[in-house]
Each structure stands twice: as structure tokens, then as C-alpha cells.
């Protein structure tokens, strides 16, 4: 007995201490979460309880209708589940505002939720459509799906109490995107443009004209049969057509292949030198190539000679005058010579054609020439051979005519080149003799006089190496003066001695001195000093 009492006391103490340790409070504020009506005739409201404050809490829902102040309590807490209130048909009025409040009560107090106003007409969320039937039908060989359904059985659409509109969504089984279709108030819908052999899912939902969308109906599956062969025939047609076009294009390309090739890859021009052998070049032996060039057409033969040669100046001297010419000794003559100087800047034509014409007539050579000329050419033409290569070389000491009368019009013509007489022992060297027009006499005859030559006419003229009758520029000093080499000076000295014999003319100033030459004026095209310009004729 004592023990029992002790146990009871201990228990009480425990309970009391325990009770003193926890805090009790009035319940937390509940909240109405939503109210829904499935058919506009009944509706349900759900609430969310707050904290219960540690004590057992009861909840009560009170409502008040729009036009009255009478407060009613929820008629049914059970039908719709936990924390809910169900209003049946008798308690539901539409077009009337309900003011609903939930109250939480426990031992320490009561808490009211925020009131909520609803009108049943606007909270309608119907059930999903029922009896969804999906069938595959055919329209001229192309299949389509026909979907049909019934409205939810609770919603009274027949009497017009609720008007529902429907929506369908379709998708292929393996995809994620739904295709939506709005069906309006009809209860049947056709879906076209299906993939052959595909498996489709179909769902339907509905909504009143003033409310919420229902949930989607459960999926209905349908498989579309294969109509692949129809698509295939189209592909075959397309393939054939493309092949045909391809063949045409190929044929066109083939016909125009050459011009196309020329357009895309223009041919590389090959070398077109006569006598140029590509094979030799490929073999890599340049000497043979050039020798082949030399051997064949280069230098050009006599047939093309006229193209390259400068025109001859044909001078006609009647025989009487010839003799006269021979005898006069006073004149400074050199060989009748015209030479085309390579350094002449006017296109290789000889100085016969240039304004300064130096004619130097050598006696011996002249006589020989005369003879030859007479032999070869009856009328006694002087031939003035102009060539770039083999100058017409006359003996320097041959008596030369000082004055030649050259007929200006008819007698001057280009004639063939006169061969160098074989008997001439004079070295093959180049020298320049110029003839200058002194005056024109009354008979319209041009009186020529030789420009005091400097070079090449002296007997015993020392041999000079090829190309050395050009003045070589030793250098340019500070005053832009060309310094010519000594050889020129010697030459001039030699010329000087000869010139005293041959000419009475005042020798050109250039003979006595190495004339400083103004560099720019005198330099010829190829860098050499042009002797023609060096030996400027003395002005008269």
C-alpha cells in the first residue's frame, strides 16, 4: 500500500514537472486553402491547420451567406476527408456570396482564420471527361484518329446547367511534347497528320465557361498502322527525278568540259622561242639550249636581215664628181663610213639616218671600194654599210672625200649590205665616222662634211679590243663630272696626229683634252658614254 502511494506520488511529480517544462499556447491560425465545386451543385472547402499549441485542437467552419447575418456551421466535416467541409445540394446556393471562416479551438483559446468570400459559380472544377474512346479510321488511304468522350457524369450538361468546353492533347509515346487541340463543346475530335506506325497517347480535359480546368483523363493508347508504302512511292519518284536531272547536268558538263577546264584552270603559256627546245631545258643543260638557239635562227639570216638592219643611205655620186673628190686633198676625209652605233638611241638605226653624218673616206679603201663598187654596181654608188655587227671598215688613210654631195631624194635608198672586201686587212674593229651637213647649195644638193673624226682612221691604228671605242667612265667626282679613262685620251692623241694629215679642220675640242663631261647628258642608254655625243661637232 505504501509502495503504491509512493509510486503514485512519483508519477504525479513526474507529470507535474513534465507539465511545467512544456509550453502550452492557443492554437495557431488556420487558413482556408481552397474551395471547389465539381458540378455547381455542391462544394467542398479545405483548410490548413496551424500549430496546435501542444493541446488537442478542434476546428470548426462557419459561414455566412451574402444577404443574411445568420452564421451557420459546416454541415459535414467527414465526407471530403480531413480538414474539410462538404456542402451538399441543400446548403449550396449559387450566385450568392459565402463568407467562410475556420476557427481553431483548444483548451487555451480559439483562433480565427481570415475570412474568405466565394461564389460557387466561380469555383467550379469539373471531373475529367469519361469514357474516352480512341479509334483509328481511314480517309482515302490516309489514317486519322477519332477521339470521343463523355462529360463527367456528375456535371449536368444536358439541361444546360453547366456548359463545358473540352481540350485534347496528343503525343507520340517516345516524345515529350504534347500537341494541344481545343474541341469546344463537341464531344468528338479527329486528329490527322500522323506518323505511320506510331503509338500515340491521347488525353482529354474539360472546363466550364467560368471556372477551372479539370484534370486530364487517363491516357488512352492507340497505334497507327503502317502506310509506309505510300510515302515510299513518293520517294521513288523524287529519286528518279533527281537522277534524271543529275544525268542531264553530267551530260552538259561533259559537252562543255573543255571550256570549263579553260575557265577553271587557264593553260600556262609555254615559251615560244624559235628553236627553243623544251626537252633540252628539261634536261637541264642550258648550254645546249642556248647553242641550239644560236645555231638555228639566231643571229637572223639574211632573209630577215632587212628587218634588223638600219636602212642604208644610198649616196649617188656621178663619176666626174668622184674623180674630183678623189683628187682633192684638202678635205679631211675619212672613210666613207656610216656606222650604226649600238649606242645610238634611236632604235638601232645608223647614224646615217641621224642628223650628224660623219663620212670618212679612206683612199685605199675607197679606191678599192670604188673599184668594187664599180664592179659590183655600175652607176657607182657608194655604199654605206650600216650594220651593228660588221662595220664597214675602210682604211683610215685612204683618201676620203671631204665633201660629198648626196642627192637628197631619189638616190638615197636602202640597199643590201655590202660585204666587207675580203682583201681588207684592216682589223675588224669598230669606229665611228660622222658626216655633217655643211650647207645646202643652190642646186638642192646637200653638202656634207665630215665631222672631225677622232678615231679609227689613223693608219697603224693600234688595235683596240672589241668595244673599246666607247668611252669608259672611270668614275664620277664630286662635282658630278664624269671622269673618263685614259685610253680615250690616247686615242684622241692618235686621232690628233692623223687628223692633221687628213683634215684641215679644227679638230674637235674633245681631241685635246679629256673633256669633262657632264654626266647626265652624255651617258648613253647602256651606261657608256656615247662617242657621238662626246665629240660634239664644232659649231659653225
Amino acid at each position: 500500500m505504501k509502495k503504491v502511494l509512493e509510486v503514485i506520488l512519483l508519477l504525479l511529480l513526474l507529470v507535474v514537472t513534465h507539465a511545467k517544462g512544456t509550453r502550452y499556447s492557443p492554437p495557431g491560425k488556420p487558413a482556408l486553402t481552397r474551395c471547389r465545386s465539381p458540378e455547381k451543385e455542391t462544394f467542398t472547402c479545405w483548410w490548413e491547420p496551424g500549430s496546435d499549441g501542444g493541446l488537442p485542437t478542434t476546428y470548426a467552419l462557419y459561414y455566412r451567406k451574402e444577404s443574411s447575418d445568420t452564421v451557420f456551421e459546416c454541415p459535414d466535416y467527414r465526407t471530403a476527408g480531413e480538414n474539410s467541409c462538404f456542402f451538399n445540394k441543400n446548403d449550396t446556393s449559387i450566385w450568392v456570396n459565402y463568407n467562410i471562416t475556420v476557427v481553431a479551438t483548444n483548451a487555451l483559446g480559439r483562433t480565427f482564420s481570415d475570412p474568405v468570400d466565394i461564389d460557387v459559380v466561380y469555383i467550379v472544377k469539373p471531373n475529367p471527361p469519361e469514357q474516352v474512346a480512341v479509334t483509328v479510321m481511314e480517309d482515302k488511304g490516309w489514317p486519322f484518329i477519332r477521339v470521343s468522350w463523355e462529360p463527367p457524369h456528375k456535371a449536368d450538361t444536358r439541361s444546360g446547367w453547366i456548359t463545358l468546353i473540352y481540350e485534347i492533347r496528343v503525343k507520340l509515346e517516345e516524345e515529350n511534347d504534347w500537341e494541344m487541340h481545343l474541341a469546344g463543346q463537341q464531344k468528338m475530335f479527329n486528329i490527322f497528320s500522323l506518323r505511320s506506325g506510331g503509338k500515340y497517347l491521347v488525353q482529354v480535359r474539360c472546363k466550364p465557361d467560368h471556372g477551372y480546368w479539370s484534370e486530364w483523363s487517363p491516357s488512352s493508347y492507340v497505334k497507327v498502322p503502317d502506310y509506309f508504302h505510300r510515302e515510299k512511292s513518293v520517294w521513288i519518284l523524287i529519286t528518279v527525278f533527281c537522277a534524271f536531272i543529275f544525268l542531264i547536268l553530267t551530260w552538259l558538263l561533259h559537252m562543255n568540259s573543255r571550256s570549263l577546264k579553260h575557265f577553271l584552270l587557264p593553260p600556262v603559256p609555254g615559251p615560244k622561242i624559235k628553236g627553243f627546245d623544251k626537252q633540252l631545258l628539261k634536261n637541264g643543260k642550258s648550254e645546249e639550249v642556248f647553242s641550239a638557239l644560236v645555231a638555228t635562227d639566231f643571229p637572223p639570216k639574211s632573209s630577215n636581215y632587212e628587218d634588223l638592219l638600219v636602212e642604208y643611205l644610198e649616196v649617188y655620186i656621178p663619176e666626174e664628181q668622184e674623180l674630183m673628190l678623189e683628187k682633192s686633198m684638202d678635205l679631211d676625209v675619212g672613210c666613207l663610213k656610216c656606222e650604226g652605233s649600238a649606242s645610238d638611241s634611236d632604235s638601232g638605226r645608223g647614224s646615217c639616218d641621224s642628223h650628224t653624218l660623219l663620212m670618212h673616206k679612206c683612199d685605199g679603201v675607197k679606191e678599192e671600194e670604188e673599184r668594187q663598187a664599180k664592179e659590183a654596181h655600175g652607176p657607182g654608188y657608194w655604199e654605206c654599210g650600216l650594220s651593228n655587227k660588221q662595220p664597214h671598215l675602210l682604211h683610215p688613210q685612204a683618201q676620203a672625200q671631204r665633201q660629198l654631195q648626196a642627192r637628197s631624194d631619189d638616190n638615197i635608198s636602202s640597199i643590201g649590205r655590202k660585204q666587207t672586201p675580203a682583201g681588207l686587212h684592216s682589223p675588224a674593229r669598230r669606229s665611228t665616222e660622222y658626216v655633217e651637213v655643211e650647207r645646202v647649195n643652190e642646186e638642192d644638193m646637200v653638202l656634207l662634211q665630215p665631222v672631225s673624226g677622232r678615231c679609227g682612221d689613223v693608219e697603224g691604228y693600234p688595235e683596240m679590243p672589241y668595244g673599246e671605242d666607247y668611252s669608259k667612265v672611270k668614275g664620277v667626282d664630286m662635282d658630278n663630272m664624269l671622269l673618263l679613262q685614259r685610253e680615250v685620251r690616247e686615242e684622241t692623241e692618235n686621232c690628233d696626229t692623223s687628223s692633221t694629215v687628213t683634215t684641215t679642220q679644227k679638230p674637235a675640242a674633245c681631241i685635246h683634252s679629256a673633256m669633262p663631261v657632264e654626266g647626265e647628258m652624255v651617258l648613253g642608254v647602256n651606261g657608256y658614254v656615247d662617242t657621238a655625243t662626246v665629240c660634239t661637232p664644232p659649231t659653225y
Binding site: S67, W95, Y98, I118, R158, S159, I165, L182, D209, H210
Partner: protein, 229 residues
């Protein structure tokens, strides 16, 4: 919402059709003379009246949403529950549940509808004038309210004819009077007036829905009283 707009646009497109439907409603049998318009069967008349009511409801719903978007601050907007402010027609003895509606007679149904229609004609006219004075009111809203106002009048005429046909009662249509219950106050931008207009629109929307439902139930009853559960 977009579907409601589509339906409203569809309604506006059908304006000429509605005009034609309203014309026969207009005609009255003259005494001693042949009626000028062909008489229309009761079912067809009822169908057209129902169509009128449907369209009126849709357009009024759109007008209310438009007005709400433009002029009502968000906290004051009626939530989805759409529990509105007290309406002018709350005093009318309109049945408020399906069971009630099923219990009342055809006569009472029709009279209820007529009462509703007649009580809204003037407020809608007033609403038109007051909406014009809002700043930046879209033309669509004005057009809709005008349309609704006109259609309501033709609906009234149709219901009168229907009553005459069904119940064999002759009734007068309301005469349009300039003077109304509502005073035309200035300063429509004040919140009070805005809320008043907002209330008007939302109440009308609700009542339009009432008209539609009542007429549809009436029609169901005409066809087969037993299937209208």
C-alpha cells in the same frame, strides 16, 4: 481568358446574325391585320433567346475583365472566387440553387428572367456614359458595353414575346428614359466611383449568367421534364 476573348470576338462577328435573329423578336401582331413578319416557332424563339443570353454573358465577362485590368488596383480586384460586392438586384427573388429552380414554374422562370433583364437596362445605359469619361479607356471596352446594352434590349423584347407565346400574357417593354436611378456625378476617376462601376460590371456579369442558366433550364424543361434532373 483568351478563349473568352475569342468567343467574344466571335460574338461580335455574329452581330449581323444576331440582328437578324432579333428582328423577328421585334415583330408584334397587329390587331386585325396580318402580321408583317413570319411567325416563329416557340422552340426557335427560345433557342435564339438562349443564344442572346449566352453571348451577353460572354461579352459582359470580357468587359468586366478589361475594366478590372485597366482601372482596378490589384488588391481590390475580385479574386478567382469572384465574390463581388452587393448587387443592385440582390433584392430580386431569384432562385439560387438548382433544386430551387427546378421547383419553380415556367411562368416564374420567365418572369424572373424578365425582371433581371429589365432591371439592367438603365444601369447599362448609365455605364456607357460614365465609361466614356474615363482616361484612356480602350475603344473595345466601350464597344462591348454598347453592344451589351443594345442586345439586352432586344433580349427583353424576345422574352416579352416568349412570355406572350408561352404564357399568353401581354406585357409592356420598358420605355427607355433619359432619367435614371443613377445620378451622373462628375469626377469618375475617384476610387469610389471606379469601384461603383466595377461593381456594376461584375454584378451584371453574374446576372447575365443567371439569365442564361434560367433560360437553358426552361428549355430543358420544355423538351423533356424528366430528363432535366
Amino acid at each position: 481568358m483568351s478563349s473568352a476573348i475569342k468567343q467574344g470576338q466571335w460574338a461580335i462577328l455574329l452581330w449581323p446574325y444576331l440582328l437578324t435573329t432579333s428582328i423577328p423578336l421585334d415583330c408584334r401582331d397587329e390587331q386585325g391585320g396580318l402580321s408583317r413578319c413570319p411567325s416563329i416557332s416557340q422552340e426557335k424563339l427560345l433557342d435564339r433567346v438562349i443564344q442572346h443570353a449566352e453571348l451577353i454573358y460572354r461579352v459582359s465577362e470580357e468587359s468586366c475583365s478589361l475594366f478590372e485590368e485597366m482601372f482596378i488596383p490589384f488588391p481590390l480586384q475580385l479574386q478567382r472566387n469572384q465574390a463581388g460586392y452587393p448587387c443592385i438586384t440582390k433584392a430580386l427573388p431569384i432562385p439560387s440553387s438548382k433544386s430551387e429552380i427546378q421547383q419553380i414554374s415556367d411562368k416564374w422562370l420567365l418572369h424572373s428572367v424578365l425582371m433581371l433583364v429589365q432591371s439592367w437596362i438603365e444601369p447599362l445605359v448609365y455605364l456607357q456614359t460614365t465609361l466614356n469619361r474615363y482616361d484612356g479607356v480602350p475603344d473595345m471596352l466601350l464597344n462591348k458595353t454598347k453592344w451589351v446594352s443594345d442586345k439586352l434590349m432586344s433580349l427583353e423584347q424576345g422574352v416579352v414575346v416568349l412570355i406572350k407565346k408561352m404564357l399568353d400574357e401581354g406585357l409592356m417593354t420598358t420605355t427607355y428614359s433619359e432619367q435614371g436611378l443613377f445620378q451622373d456625378d462628375g469626377q469618375p476617376e475617384m476610387l469610389e466611383y471606379v469601384m461603383r462601376d466595377y461593381t456594376l460590371l461584375s454584378c451584371f456579369k453574374k446576372d447575365a449568367h443567371k439569365m442564361e442558366i434560367l433560360l437553358k433550364l426552361l428549355k430543358c424543361r420544355q423538351n423533356d421534364i424528366h430528363s432535366c434532373a
